[in-house]
């Protein structure tokens, strides 16, 4: 990895080649790709610039205090409602509905790092299965084949460990390193799944199993999900992309910079990006072009906040679909206990997965597909476990509670099912009319109610998960209720990609149909939801977008 020398800084008055809004899974990749090709880039990131040494295992601060998620400067509430008939409310005392990390590297810093590629079918299910009435079910304007080289870039440039499984789409190159060592949950999952005729496989993870690009392998500390990696073994853009971007001498990462408007001129072109700096002062960075990569909730919010007389319904929103078709991936969970210790608090979340039910199968009677994985889920860390880890019906306090806490912590695992989400216009991100942050920016309002097929698929996977754990010899199995999602960590579909400017926000190169020098690339670009692990595809899109954007810039086509 290149050493960061003197870091470049740009004057806000200098018109840089690109401003990238967001430094996460997508923004970090695009920053690296554009800056290493010689373009001057300013990355505006609302969170802090933490590095590996700033991360810790403090569950109270990180998971309960939201250390990696809170806005660093002021309160920025969000509201939720299931349908537009309801008045959206700030969830009292709980997690925000749109769950993402703030800080350089974005949510790639605190994610669990499951890196499933999409299948060929994910891009063309509308053609394969026909229309779904009343939904936004559609094909992507690109194919798996077009995206494959960029999936391979993610594998080899960010660092993904894995082993090809029986259902995987074709790949042009092997994984750069073998899968991480299997955990007891993975062994039991593999045993149970194989016993009932399924085909479990090692989990592809954006976590290093071997030294790679100057970074060390995973030390199996167990603090992945929700935490930053102290070893730089997790392939966040903070660890894998940002250092290279900075070393190019063409990229300034500007943290604690909260964008509130993308300014356009009377030709309908973006001219500058307005933001609040570390002191809460208003700043404006001039740019020839802007790449918006702020995540599937913040991206539509910012487009709405950037409305003007020329763009009265929000920037790049002549189609009216900005914010719509939010997809979060459905989930189902079961837990199981075994005779001997598993010690799931050690190492990464997931070491084995099952993709036998990935493809849509009309004979099930509903649309959908999904994957299963074995993991500790929220039980890896002691406080969360103590509050929600025991089977239902067990005492919540007293001697028996104490004895059960001691038993289940080491003897328990869970199986998570992750599913498709049908794209629905009723599920969306809009600006809340009643709630604002302290700077007057309208709050993110999420409206979300799962499609009945999504819940049916989640229930289908839950049944399979129970069968797997039974076949693995679990002494106890319990199901967690399948409920409509009220918190979404996967923020997908809200500025969908398409060929038709009337029904999509960006074209197949991520250029906004309405604004020639505005590109949008993050989870918002998705047309369909995949099967519950979107970051690999977000990053493949980012590598591909960056290549095209650089080409446009070189040819004077921006």
């Amino acid at each position: 990895m290149p050493e960061s020398g003197d870091k470049v800084t740009f004057s806000t008055r200098k018109e840089v080649d690109f401003v990238i809004i967001g430094s996460g899974a997508s923004g970090g990749v695009i920053a690296r790709e554009l800056s290493t090709q010689g373009f001057d880039v300013v990355v505006l990131e609302q969170g802090e610039y933490r590095t590996a040494k700033d991360f810790n295992h403090d569950e109270f601060a990180v998971l309960f205090g939201g250390e990696l998620m809170n806005h660093p400067g002021w309160s920025d509430p969000q509201t939720f409602r299931a349908t537009e008939k309801e008045t959206a409310r700030v969830t009292p005392g709980g997690l925000p509905p749109a769950l993402y990390a703030r800080g350089v590297g974005g949510s790639s810093v605190h994610f669990s790092a499951n890196y499933w590629r999409f299948h060929e079918s994910d891009f063309k299910e509308r053609s394969m299965f026909g229309p779904m009435k009343g939904t936004g079910f559609a094909d992507w304007p690109i194919s798996y084949e077009e995206l494959e080289p960029y999936y391979t870039k993610v594998d080899w440039e960010c660092g993904v460990s894995g082993q090809v499984g029986p259902f995987d789409a074709p790949r042009s190159r092997p994984y750069p390193m073998p899968p991480l060592p299997v955990k007891s949950s993975g062994v039991l999952f593999e045993k149970g799944a194989s016993a009932i005729g399924l085909h479990p496989q090692p989990a592809p993870m954006a976590i290093l199993s071997q030294p790679f690009n100057g970074r060390p392998p995973c030390m199996h500390c167990g603090f992945c999900m929700g935490f930053g990696c102290e070893a730089n073994a997790k392939s966040s853009t903070l660890a894998s992309m940002i250092p290279i971007a900075e070393a190019s001498g063409h990229c300034e990462i500007r943290p604690l910079s909260t964008v509130y408007k993308i300014d356009t001129n009377d030709q309908g072109r973006v001219t500058q990006v307005l933001y609040y700096d570390v002191d809460g002062q208003q700043q404006a960075q001039k740019a020839k072009a802007v790449v918006l990569a702020a995540n599937g909730a913040e991206t539509p919010r910012l487009l709405f906040l950037s409305a003007s007389s020329m763009f009265p319904d929000g920037l790049a929103n002549s189609s009216g679909v900005v914010g719509k078709y939010l997809m979060g991936n459905g989930h189902s969970l079961i837990s199981a206990a075994f005779e001997h210790p598993l010690n799931e608090f050690k190492s990464v979340q997931v070491t084995r997965i099952c993709h036998d039910f990935y493809e849509n199968d009309p004979s099930r009677g509903f649309y959908g597909g999904g994957g299963l994985d074995a993991r500790p889920y929220l039980d890896a860390t002691p406080i969360f476990y103590s509050m929600r880890g025991l089977p239902p019906g067990k005492p919540r306090w007293g001697q028996e509670f104490k004895a059960n806490l001691a038993h289940y912590y080491t003897h328990k695992m869970s199986v998570l099912g992750s599913t498709t989400s049908v794209p629905l216009a009723r599920n969306n991100i809009t600006l809340d009319p009643d709630h604002k942050d302290e700077k007057g920016r309208a709050a993110i309002r999420m409206t979300y109610l799962d499609h009945e097929d999504d819940l049916a698929m989640a229930a289908f996977l839950q049944d399979k998960a129970v069968q797997i754990m039974e076949a693995a010899g679990a002494s106890e199995i319990w199901r967690h209720p399948i409920e409509g999602g009220t918190i979404q960590a996967h923020l997908l579909g809200t500025c969908r990609m398409g060929d038709d400017p009337k029904t999509s926000v960006v074209d197949k190169y991520h250029r906004a149909h309405d604004v020639p020098n505005l590109f949008i690339c993050d989870g918002s670009s998705f047309v369909s939801s995949g099967r519950g692990q979107p970051t690999m595809t977000i990053q493949a899109l980012a590598f591909r977008a960056a290549e095209h954007i650089a080409g446009f810039a070189r040819r004077g086509e921006i």
Binding site: F64, G66, G93, L95, P174, V182, S184, F384, S386
Partner: protein, 201 residues
């Protein structure tokens, strides 16, 4: 940087499994300072900073009902009351009157249950259990219950979880790095499948 206004009510209002995502972080420097002070106090067996000795007895009796002592240490042994003291001294200072009022109500109810008891802690352990079963849905129970679990299982730096005794109870080993095998079943399976080859295709 603009300072954030903090709703301390959210701690009490929250009935779900997840605490407010913001209240701790917003007070984190104060919380850490309080935790360190609590740890010093605990180590020196010093007086409490924000609660009275009488309140400490009541909170301790409650905490030991949740995680009772026995073959292994209980909540009081593990320092949960010091964690509570730190909490009510700093980030929960705004809710301290609610705790005080709640305990006074409990005194009255305890007396109704057993005329010889002036307060909750003076009930027999069996009576305390019966008493708390009737209070499980109440806001004081809910607030103190969360504090007990936080004091048991958060980092010792916050004042509770003395010497990591809470973690030891679970079998959580606070080691910074691990190597396989991690548990019984992967140890049994070791070597049965080789995924370490050069080609991962």
């Amino acid at each position: 940087m603009t300072k954030i206004k903090q709703s301390r009510r959210s701690f009490l209002a929250n009935g779900g499994a997840v605490l407010s995502a913001s209240w701790v972080a917003l007070n984190m420097p104060a919380l850490l300072a309080a935790g360190e002070a609590a740890q010093d106090n605990r180590n020196a067996a010093a007086a409490y900073k924000s609660i009275t000795p009488e309140q400490a007895v009541e909170l301790g009796a409650f905490a030991d009902q949740i995680i009772p002592p026995g073959d292994t240490p209980g909540a009081v042994d593990i320092g949960v009351v010091y964690f509570m003291d730190a909490a009510f001294g700093m980030f929960l200072a705004g809710d301290k009157p609610i705790m005080e009022r709640g305990l006074r109500e409990w005194h009255g109810k305890a007396k109704n249950m057993n005329p010889n008891a002036e307060r909750f802690s003076q009930l027999t352990p069996g009576e305390q259990t019966t008493f708390l079963k009737a209070e499980e849905e109440g806001s004081l129970f809910s607030m103190l219950y969360r504090l007990v679990l936080l004091g048991m299982f958060s980092s010792p730096g916050y004042g509770g979880n003395h010497n990591g005794e809470g973690w030891k109870l679970l079998g959580f080993d606070k080691q910074h790095a691990w190597q396989p095998p991690f548990g019984y079943y992967d140890a049994q399976a070791m070597g049965s499948t080789d995924y370490s080859g050069e080609h991962h295709a």
